[in-house]
Symmetry: C2
DNA sequence: GTCAGACTTTGACCCAGATCAAACCCGGAC
DNA sequence: GTCCGGGTTTGATCTGGGTCAAAGTCTGAC
């Protein structure tokens, strides 16, 4: 488990969903109601949280650890369609089954709410429904952004785009690094990255080596990354906007 | 404008959103309120309905014609991230600007609702908010399904997947064809298909020719398609489920 | 009818990324 | 310490789809 994730665990110890997932504007009594129906689940690295087609009996937010959403074809080709980092929300009120495999990439703790009571609460408190719509729209935007990556970017741009995403996520939690320099651990194996990017693991490895050789990133071991010039990384990603990271 | 689209125009003449977009369960008085704030817009083929970053002052459903959602990189590479067919909904309550270009592919008629009154109505009638969440989840699923297509499928599978989608859409409207045989017009140029599939227009053309040569589809002119064996097409698409098309 | 322009097809060639194969690295079990 | 196995890197080669180029088709204006 990486350092940033541990932070989240602590930050969210009393009420994980307060963090970013559901309750940005919760009144105290609503928080209390959420407290009453919540419980925790732990999964080991590598285990399936949900299989595609499984009945989903809960919605949840990630407390610590990493999970992925993947789709798989009969012949085994797989595509990752989402990455769940601490504070992310999983599950869809109003739907019975999961359309994807949800797999724990690291040991992971989820803060769960049984679906029925959660849905009932949604009906009572419209702003939670509103917040959920907003989160779904964010996910939709992210998915469509990723369609551009998958459909039109080169292998090098794809890697840079992924690093960008992970860096942004981690950096918003990890404020220790001096401004402009981002330090983080890759939460995924080369193979998982490949499945996210529509590449092979060999190509991922080669492109990471190339970015290192060209001074875009520094690597310590196989997972620990330092980015000294985030603007440069964005350029490599073929990204025109900075998502608010650069003042 | 193709025949199916004309059908929709007639079906929806009195209240387009009643069709499938927003109002599946509307009470009569809610329909009346919607009637009061709706108006129509016409766009010519090829014109921009919204530019990326534009302020959106309305939400709308497509009455007739086709539009696309696209993202473009600075160097001109473009990726289509959504296809708007008759009865589809555009616009996101709670968001101010469009993250995508919305372009009319054919002449198109939209049934629009000014955003503010629409949002107010959403607050008054929770089931519309609920329906909107559902539609957004559908879009999210479609986007993620498409990520698998973009990331992991071959050119031939991509083309077959696109035909599958268009055939399903059109077939649900066009009940004249004998069971099992689907007949429809391609609503997109080869270039637009390429932008949807993350290919070049030459590759699209070659793969369509190949599917024709192999008897998967029949072509009359450049746009009119007959599919005699839908299961075969699904197989070519690498798709395991039939989305309920085959009994 | 015929001309212009937009769309499409087809061919020849090339290259980014896949595939196949072999080492390498490193942490944990013993 | 040594061994083992999963993850990673690197090299050699192959190929699907991109690129460049030319020709074909259709439609609508005149």
């Amino acid at each position: 488990m990486n350092h940033a994730a541990q932070n989240i665990t602590q930050e969210c110890a009393d009420c994980p969903i307060r963090h970013r997932a559901v309750c940005a504007r919760c009144e105290p009594d609503e928080l209390t109601r959420l407290e009453e129906i919540k419980y925790y689940r732990h999964y080991d690295a590598g285990s399936h949280i949900l299989w595609s087609g499984d009945r989903m009996e809960f919605v949840a937010s990630v407390v610590s650890g990493i999970a992925t959403l993947t789709q798989t074809m009969e012949d085994g080709r797989t595509q990752m369609v989402g990455l769940l980092l601490p504070s992310d929300f999983v599950g869809r009120p109003g739907r019975d089954t999961s359309p994807y495999d949800v797999v724990a990439t690291t040991d992971i703790v989820m803060c769960c709410f049984r679906k029925r009571p959660f849905e009932q609460m949604m009906e009572r408190t419209p702003h939670i429904a509103h917040r959920l719509l907003e989160m779904t729209l964010d996910e939709l935007d992210a998915a469509r952004e990723w369609m551009l990556v998958l459909g039109r970017k080169t292998a090098r741009e794809k890697i840079a785009s992924l690093l960008t995403i992970i860096a942004r996520r981690d950096a918003s939690l990890n404020l220790r690094a001096p401004k402009g320099v981002l330090v983080f651990d890759l939460p995924l194996t080369r193979e998982a990255m490949a499945d996210y990017l529509g590449l092979t693991l060999e190509t991922v490895s080669r492109q990471i080596s190339a970015l290192k050789r060209d001074g875009v990133i520094e690597l310590e071991g196989k997972r620990h990354v330092t980015v000294r010039d985030f603007a440069r990384l964005l350029e490599e990603a073929g990204d025109d906007n900075d998502g608010g990271m650069l003042a």
